[in-house]
């Protein structure tokens, strides 16, 4: 039984198909990179994983549960922009990851102090201790995205969705963000979906790289068909498959 299962998912806006017949099985802890041409429906796919919108046909389930009807704690998200709250300080943004779950949206007393301690630990981990009391607008783009990821992780989601999270960063900052994300993943073993326009980034970070494209193409009406997953690359071991086949099937080694 796969962890995330996408079954025959279609999505169209009005009568314009965007995605058609998308099928996907993802195991827990896998890192899925998603690439594809601009406007082919990558963000749409992510929005459906997030349950921000419902597919017109088909269903998406996590761990065999019922398909979600709205975004919730199960799914964390980081967008390219606007993923943190501008009116909260960096520390408050992290604490919000716990406080927003309560009825009043605020933690009080001992719970609050514990959450603040955890927030400081998280800030330490994402390297934002020194700006804990500043507002997001005064941070650099890379710091804002680190904050957004830290905030999402504080809520302990089962899957993390990233829509071009490093798209607006310079190459150097991007590299350090890769490092950061790789470390976080090693610690948390979270299932991650990341949309990117950078193939190299996709292969470097992902266990699998999915390519969205239109399998059918009508030259007289480019909008006639939707996109689907046309390739599903194994990106582990630097994209060279079967490197660890002997670990998986030790009997093969004995045979040789």
């Amino acid at each position: 039984m796969s962890f995330v299962s996408v079954r025959d998912v279609f999505q169209s806006y009005g009568n314009r198909p965007i995605l058609e017949r998308v099928n996907l099985d993802v195991a827990e802890g896998e890192f899925i990179s998603i690439v594809g041409a601009s406007g082919c429906g990558k963000s749409t796919f992510l929005r459906m994983l997030l349950a921000e919108e419902q597919p017109t046909r088909g269903a998406i389930t996590i761990d065999g549960g019922a398909p979600a009807v709205e975004p919730g704690l199960e799914r964390g998200v980081v967008f390219q922009k606007y993923s943190v709250f501008p009116h909260l300080t960096v520390r408050q943004n992290i604490v919000a990851g716990e406080g927003f779950q309560t009825a009043s949206g605020r933690l009080r007393g001992a719970k609050r102090r514990e959450a603040l301690d955890r927030a400081d630990a998280m800030l330490d981990r994402i390297g934002l201790n020194h700006v804990a009391d500043q507002y997001p607008a005064s941070l650099s783009g890379g710091m804002q995205q680190r904050l957004a990821i830290g905030q999402a992780l504080t809520a302990k989601p089962r899957i993390l969705l990233l829509d071009e999270p490093f798209g607006a960063l310079d190459p150097g900052t991007r590299l350090s963000m890769h490092q950061f994300l790789t470390e976080l993943r090693a610690e948390t073993k979270m299932t991650v979906f990341m949309v990117t326009h950078d193939l190299e980034e996709g292969f470097k970070l992902g266990d699998r790289v999915l390519v969205f494209d239109k399998p059918r193409w009508d030259p007289h009406d480019p909008g006639a068909f939707g996109a689907t997953i046309t390739y599903d690359f194994d990106a582990r071991d630097r994209g060279i498959p079967f490197q660890r086949i002997l670990d998986l099937y030790p009997s093969l080694a004995r045979a040789s």
Binding site: P71, S138, A148
Partner: protein, 270 residues
């Protein structure tokens, strides 16, 4: 260098800001001088010195009949009405704006109604208000509320809608309920806009207040101006006008200060 790229240095900037005030003062002084030279009993443009005398008298000398200083009484009465009306309008528009901006059901139900309501000319309703609420305080406060609430509601609901959708989605993924999103995400970001709206609406609020006081009242800044108009007491009218302007300026300045002190995050990016 192009004109659009040239800006004055500090001393010149101050001088430029002061120039229109000085020009008006000088023009008035000259006009008054000319008229008074022709007819010393002229009431239309009293000399600046006369206005100053009148102002001192109005601010300090109690009324012979009531023993109270009328100007302060007028000021207190008018400010109470103004702040009452603006306060009620601000609260109403905040609640309606949040409802319309956040809840699709409220949006469907209310936004068209508010849009139409904002087209009704409030002053045309004044007679109705006097008939319904009588000549007391209620009618005046209600006129201010009716006059500025629809506009403020429309603007605030639009501002709530302008909050990036990503933030609303993000809050949901952190487990926030509708109430928490309203109280912890939308409200704090809308409050500065509410204050900005109050600042913008104060001009209209003064207009409605003075209109209502002019029509039916027995105390108030607007009432006094229209009362002494019968005696052509320009010195009193001008003192009151300058006083109202000063009050309006002070309120505006206080609100601006409040915005800067209360919402430090707004300036974080600058």
């Amino acid at each position: 260098m192009r004109l659009i790229n040239r800006s004055p240095a500090r001393p010149l900037a101050v001088a430029l800001a002061a120039a229109p005030f000085v020009a008006v003062a000088i023009a008035y002084a000259i006009g008054s001088e000319i008229r008074l030279a022709a007819n010393p009993a002229d009431k239309l443009l009293p000399a600046p010195a006369t206005i100053l005398d009148t102002a001192i008298r109005l601010f300090t000398e109690p009324d012979r009949r009531s023993g109270e200083i009328l100007l302060w009484r007028d000021t207190a009465a008018s400010l109470l009405r103004l702040l009452g009306g603006v306060g009620i309008a601000a609260l109403t528009s905040l609640i309606l704006g949040m409802l319309i901006g956040l809840l699709p059901y409220a949006r469907r139900g209310l936004s068209g109604f508010v849009a139409v309501l904002s087209m009704v000319p409030p002053l045309a309703l004044l007679p109705i208000l006097f008939i319904v609420f009588g000549l007391g305080e209620t009618a005046k406060i209600v006129l201010i509320v009716i006059g500025i609430t629809p506009f403020m509601t429309r603007d605030l609901s639009q501002r709530v809608l302008d909050i990036p959708h990503e933030q609303i989605v993000k809050a949901q993924t952190l487990g926030a309920s509708t109430w928490v999103i309203a109280a912890r995400v939308a409200l704090p970001q809308i409050l500065p806009r509410l204050i900005a709206n109050v600042r913008l609406s104060l001009g209209s609020a003064w207009l409605f207040l003075i209109a209502a006081e002019a029509v039916a009242s027995d105390v108030g800044l607007g009432y006094r101006i229209f009362l002494v108009r019968r005696y052509l007491a320009m010195d009193v009218i001008l003192t009151y006008v300058i006083w109202i302007t000063l009050l309006a300026f002070l309120i505006d300045w206080a609100l601006r200060l409040l915005t800067r002190k209360a919402f430090p995050w707004m300036e974080a990016g600058l």
